[in-house]
């Protein structure tokens, strides 16, 4: 799959929770093949931006276009990957069934789950190397395995854009390396990866681009350039867990 010309464009995007402004003046473009890190202190608007892109919130100002059309028309091409363990605990469901959920935008309520859906699900299981655990209950998986399951669901969905909310949180070092490799592979195969991220030291290793937020856009550009800018260093300095107490 290669769709590098597919582009995401944000112009003057803003969102407020009641009177509290969470995000304003966000303006950038990204295209398939890139890996974009969303950086900023707690409460900077990273999760809000992910939720706007995922269609869970509707922006109150500005425009979000995907392939030159409003993003709301392209739900099938945008996959949202929540933080691990966000789902309901002790839910009787197998890994395979969670991955098959990605077929919903193609099937809707009434279409039968057919051969093409089975094939896409099995391909996603194979790509993410989940064959051995595909029949396990989702609650039996480690954080890293859950992340791989969610990525497989996005692949079964045939999504072009993957939105990941703090994907490296709670993973051990080995799982972080695997996830990092998977994100690189996915972008090379033509996906646009957008992930909120806290670990500043690994930004340039994992991501090609970075967007720094502090309730508004502070900087955007190639990760290596953004991470050395003085304004960015000042904003991100407060990312230290004890230096910043604001919570969105």
């Amino acid at each position: 799959m290669s769709h590098e010309h597919h582009q995401l464009d944000l112009t003057g995007v803003g969102y407020s929770y009641g009177v509290k402004e969470a995000l304003s003046e966000v303006e950038f473009s990204a295209h398939c093949g890139q890996r974009l890190a969303l950086l900023g202190p707690n409460g900077a608007g990273k999760s809000t931006l992910i939720r706007l892109l995922a269609g869970l919130l509707k922006q109150q100002s500005g425009v979000i276009n995907w392939r030159e059309n409003p993003i709301a028309k392209a739900r099938r091409e945008i996959a949202y990957l929540p933080q691990v363990d966000q789902h309901q605990r002790h839910f009787p469901i197998r890994v395979r069934d969670v991955i098959a959920m990605g077929r919903f935008p193609h099937l809707g309520h009434l279409k039968r789950f057919g051969k093409i859906d089975r094939d896409k699900t099995e391909d996603a299981i194979a790509t993410m190397n989940l064959g051995d655990i595909a029949n396990r209950q989702i609650d039996q998986l480690s954080g890293g395995q859950q992340q791989r399951t969610y990525i497989a669901r996005a692949l079964a969905q045939e999504a072009h854009v993957l939105l990941l909310d703090e994907p490296f949180n709670g993973l051990d070092i080995e799982s972080r390396c695997h996830l990092s490799d998977s994100l690189v592979d996915l972008s090379k195969s033509g996906h646009l990866i957008i992930a909120s991220h806290h670990q500043l030291e690994s930004v340039t290793e994992i991501f090609t681009h970075a967007l720094v937020l502090d309730r508004k856009q502070v900087a955007f550009g190639p990760a290596a350039e953004v991470m050395v800018s003085d304004a960015v260093k000042q904003t991100l300095h407060s990312c230290h867990p004890h230096a910043h107490e604001r919570v969105l």
Binding site: A54, G55, R76, H87, Q88, R94, P105, H109
Partner: protein, 288 residues
């Protein structure tokens, strides 16, 4: 307390006699239908983790039924619409008062449903019939009319069909509502529709086993099945079958031992749940 309670049988009887009497045939048919529908719906309740809210809901239906009986004469339709209005009113009031007071919705709901239940009891007392009150509290599955039976059947068809047709979206929404919304599922609409189905099922169950014991029928079957299944696709139909079988067993036992039918059904289902836990724990390498 009247001695000729319609839901209590004084003398045990043989199975062959039981199946020959039209009253009991009809009660068994009603039990099988209501048991299956409640069992099927119990899978949703289990996955939604809402049995306590449902307890509140079932108690909230009583004042609606009572006031409908007070204003109009008590018939199945007036009872039904009274119950629906009461449930919706309690639901909306809970959300509003919880927002205004910043008190948790569980607390507000507990206050409102006990208050509503109390009003229901007083209205039924005012209507002057202890028997009616007892029927609504504890049910009267042997006294269901033709129209009650058809109503149960119709509601059952609607509930099971809706939960089956939309199961794909229902399951994703129950598993993770945010992922469901991101996949294009209209989660709020689905929540309202599910709420409506729960009320429908509860109202028809209310007439059979009363608003207190109804909770047992709409919660227990899936809890019995849960330990033995690994997917929602099996949980829903198996819960329906266990609901029908367990309830029918409860009815037969009630007749055998001269006990109230509703209580016997609820107790039998609870007993089957304990048994399922013992079996589950006893299975090698399969401890819960």
């Amino acid at each position: 307390m009247p001695s000729n309670k319609p839901f209590t049988l004084a003398t045990p009887m043989l199975m062959s006699e039981f199946f020959e009497i039209p009253l009991y045939q009809r009660a068994l048919l009603a039990t099988l239908i209501i048991g299956f529908v409640n069992g099927y719906t119990s899978a949703f309740v289990l996955l939604h983790r809402s049995p306590l809210k449902l307890t509140a809901l079932s108690h909230s239906l009583l004042p609606g039924v009572a006031i409908a009986a007070w204003i109009f004469t008590l018939g199945v339709f007036s009872a039904f619409f009274g119950a629906v209005i009461a449930a919706v009113a309690i639901g909306v009031l809970t959300v509003l008062l919880s927002r205004v007071t910043k008190i948790s919705d569980d607390t507000v709901l507990a206050v409102l449903y006990t208050g509503a239940f109390a009003v229901g009891i007083m209205v039924l007392q005012k209507l002057g019939s202890n028997q009616d009150l007892e029927n609504w509290l504890l049910g009267n599955i042997l006294g269901l009319s033709d129209i009650d039976l058809w109503m149960s059947f119709g509601v059952g068809i609607i509930a099971v069909t809706m939960l089956s047709l939309f199961r794909r979206a229902v399951v994703i929404n129950l598993f993770d509502p945010e992922v469901a919304a991101s996949l294009g599922i209209r989660t709020r609409l689905l929540d309202y529709a599910s709420f409506a189905i729960l009320i429908l099922v509860l109202v028809t169950t209310l007439q059979a086993v009363g608003c207190i014991l109804a909770i047992g029928m709409i919660v227990t079957p899936a809890a019995i099945v849960r330990s033995f299944v690994s997917t929602p696709e099996t949980l829903f139909p198996l819960s329906g079958l266990v609901g029908a079988g367990g309830s029918a067993l409860g009815l037969i036992l009630s007749i055998q031992f001269g006990q109230p039918a509703g209580a016997s059904i609820a107790a039998t289902l609870a007993g089957l749940f304990i048994l399922s836990v013992i079996i589950r724990v006893s299975l090698p390498g399969n401890r819960a």
